[in-house]
């Protein structure tokens, strides 16, 4: 009897989850379908997901040839990697100092961090742009990376995680003769991988997809990031080239999905351990 009830519950649960998944996936289904349609087929009165004439090759060719996808993707990787590396390098020692050292400014830092969480880049874009121009660093990786070199979210996340690292471990390291910097590099970082993975997902997702800031500071196409590439498929005045747009979107989204799939187990684990949840 219990067995029966359990299986009924499971069926219900599975059905619900699957239905939800279908709804969440719907836009992607249409995206994939559209990426395979000829332009004249995309908007029609009859809904059909499967293209009448398969134009995947055509659309993907367009997506790849119209813009230099390799440059875009490479720039995306470089920029995201740089941002992520610098963010970690900056945030980890700071979070360590706040979590584990007698640091009188820790409270003040906490306020700064909270404030930082609230300020969107849209708000500060203009002063930053002017400053970057004065320094003649527009159109460079520096301009793309610098404003994100400090991630208050990262500090926040690592802080939560480090608080859970036992004090004894730090003490043992001190007794073993490590300097504080040594402790960060040799003890804290090697044990913070779950948190770093979780942060990596947040950081990379945000900056891979960021359109706003690259648009502001990059005019030279050599430094264009993937979302900038999508512009080439948009023609506001006359309707977009949807097939190619979707194909291009797929191309630049796939690396992220792959990254998430690889990291996702550690990701949830990392968030659990960071106590980010509260």
């Amino acid at each position: 009897m219990t067995a029966h009830r359990i299986s009924l519950g499971r069926v219900l649960r599975f059905t619900l989850l699957s239905l939800g998944a279908l709804i969440f996936l719907a836009p992607y289904i249409f995206m994939i379908s559209t990426a395979g349609k000829a332009q004249s087929e995309i908007f029609s009165s009859s809904l059909s997901l499967i293209p009448e004439q398969w134009s995947y090759v055509e659309n993907f060719t367009k997506a790849l040839s119209r813009v230099s996808m390799t440059t875009l993707l490479l720039n995306g990787v470089i920029v995201c990697a740089l941002i992520f590396t610098v963010q970690v390098l900056v945030a980890v020692p700071c979070a360590y100092a706040m979590a584990k050292l007698k640091f009188r400014a820790a409270r003040f830092m906490m306020v700064l961090v909270m404030l930082g969480l609230l300020v969107p880049i849209h708000a500060t874009a203009l002063p930053l742009y002017v400053a970057f121009d004065r320094l003649a660093v527009l159109n460079s990786y520096t301009a793309l990376v610098a404003p994100f070199s400090i991630s208050v979210f990262g500090i926040f996340l690592f802080l939560q995680f480090f608080r859970a690292i036992p004090d004894d471990l730090i003490h043992a390291a001190r007794l073993d003769g490590m300097s504080e910097a040594g402790i960060v590099a040799r003890v804290v970082v090697p044990n913070a991988w779950p948190a770093i993975t979780a942060f990596a997902i947040f950081s990379v997702v945000a900056h891979w997809n960021d359109l706003f800031w690259p648009l502001v500071v990059v005019t030279n196409q050599d430094y264009a990031t993937p979302p900038l590439g999508l512009l080439y498929f948009r023609a506001a005045e006359a309707g977009d080239d949807y097939g190619a747009l979707m194909a291009a979107t797929l191309i630049i989204t796939l690396p992220l999905i792959a990254a998430f799939l690889i990291a996702q187990k550690r990701f949830v684990e990392g968030i659990t351990m960071t106590g980010l949840k509260g």
């Binding site: 087929e41 908007f43 030279n220 309707g239």
Partner: protein, 398 residues
């Protein structure tokens, strides 16, 4: 070798055109090299980019600016006055730049650019639906009354079919089409008072109101309207010729697409606004300016037009291009859909740009009030009066 950095908006639209033109230009002018800055998604974003970059090292040498924004850019003293270059050349008309065409890119008499791609509003229609609703596609409606009547019939066909799509969203261009078509104007002669709330304006907005009430004009976003039309769900679409090429591609073989002149409320004095953009020189470097002037003329010239027109649907802004068989004469024979725009060219007048710092906001005020009419949340009179009052308050006080 002189290197020119060129910036342009809407790459989805202009990229191929720009690539072709610059390639040809560099072939003809070996001493000049064209590089492209990252293009901007829209005209608006293009202007923002230029504004931000004005005076900085990042500023491109040449850009393309929407015709209705030339005035604003000029107020900030960003474009280079082309008057001296024209004077130096002396033979602009021979190169196909008639006075009328030069005027499109003048602000208060100053030549801030050369019109590059120009458009006017035309009527697209779905011949299949027209036929179904009892109309004759060979003889499309010539007046708004006819359009509205037929639109109503098309709407009555059901099955989610709409009668009319009128691109009133985004800016005041299509309202201008109605207003200018009635012989009206936006402001009075000396630009101190609103004039669009006169009788011409009332007729114009009433047409819009009747389209909604009788002609089957639904509330659609711009994209939704286009998509519905190319899906074969809308009888008439009124918008720029610039969208023609894309519309043809999107429609494919789904239905019988036709174009025709846009009806005019005043068939005698009616005018039409000119859409599109002008090539503008930004560089302050004399040597670069020379090169840039060459490029500007080349792009806006007959070769440029012969590339732009077939690729987009814009009308030629160069008289040589339209007439010369070397360029486009044959094209028009073979592509009758493009002819409506061409034939309307004589009626084209500049797209009116409002004076003062609130120029852009003014157009927003107009669009918002139009939307009240389309949503039927205000009578046309109310909407027009409100719009007039708002615009009045946004005009520079002097």
């Amino acid at each position: 070798e002189t290197v020119l950095t060129v910036h342009y908006p809407m790459p989805g639209f202009f990229k191929d055109v720009m690539d072709t033109i610059s390639k040809k230009f560099m072939e003809e002018n070996p001493g000049i090299k064209i590089t492209f800055a990252n293009p901007s998604a829209t005209y608006e974003e293009g202007i923002q980019t230029i504004m931000r970059q004005a005076g900085t090292a990042e500023m491109p040498d040449i850009t393309f600016i929407g015709l209705n924004r030339l005035r604003m850019v000029n107020e900030r003293d960003i474009p280079v006055d082309l008057g001296p270059f024209i004077a130096k050349d002396g033979n602009m008309a021979e190169q196909g730049f008639s006075e009328n065409i030069l005027k499109l890119a003048q602000v208060n008499g100053k030549q801030v650019g050369l019109a590059f791609a120009t458009s006017n509003p035309i009527m697209y229609y779905n011949a299949d639906l027209v036929r179904k609703a009892g109309g004759n596609p060979e003889n499309p409606p010539k007046t708004w009354d006819e359009v509205i009547a037929l639109g109503g019939k098309i709407k009555a066909l059901g099955d989610g079919v709409e009668g009319i799509d009128f691109r009133w969203q985004g800016d005041d261009w299509m309202f201008s089409a109605l207003l200018f078509g009635a012989g009206g104007r936006m402001l009075n002669e000396d630009e101190t008072k609103v004039a669009f709330n006169g009788p011409e304006g009332r007729k114009a907005i009433e047409v819009l109101d009747r389209m909604v009430k009788e002609g089957g004009l639904p509330v659609l976003t711009k994209q939704a309207g286009e998509q519905a039309f190319v899906a074969g769900k809308v009888g008439f679409a009124f918008q720029t010729t610039g969208a023609l090429r894309n519309t043809i591609k999107n429609v494919g073989g789904k239905f019988d697409l036709r174009t025709a002149h846009i009806p005019l409320i005043d068939t005698v004095n009616g005018k039409l606004p000119t859409g599109g953009n002008a090539v503008v020189i930004l560089t302050r470097d004399a040597e670069k300016q020379e090169a840039a002037w060459k490029f500007a003329k080349f792009a806006a010239g007959p070769y440029g037009a012969s590339v732009v027109v077939p690729g987009t649907g814009y009308v030629p802004n160069n008289e040589l291009a339209a007439k010369s068989p070397e360029y486009l004469a044959n094209f028009y024979k073979e592509n009758p859909l493009f002819q409506a725009g061409l034939e309307q060219m004589p009626r084209m007048i500049p797209w009116y740009a409002f004076p003062g710092t609130n120029g852009v906001k003014v157009t927003q005020a107009i669009v918002e009030n139009l939307s009240r009419v389309v949503e039927q949340s205000a009578t046309p009179e109310e909407a027009l009066d409100d719009a007039a009052a708002e615009v009045e308050s946004l005009l520079p006080r002097s």
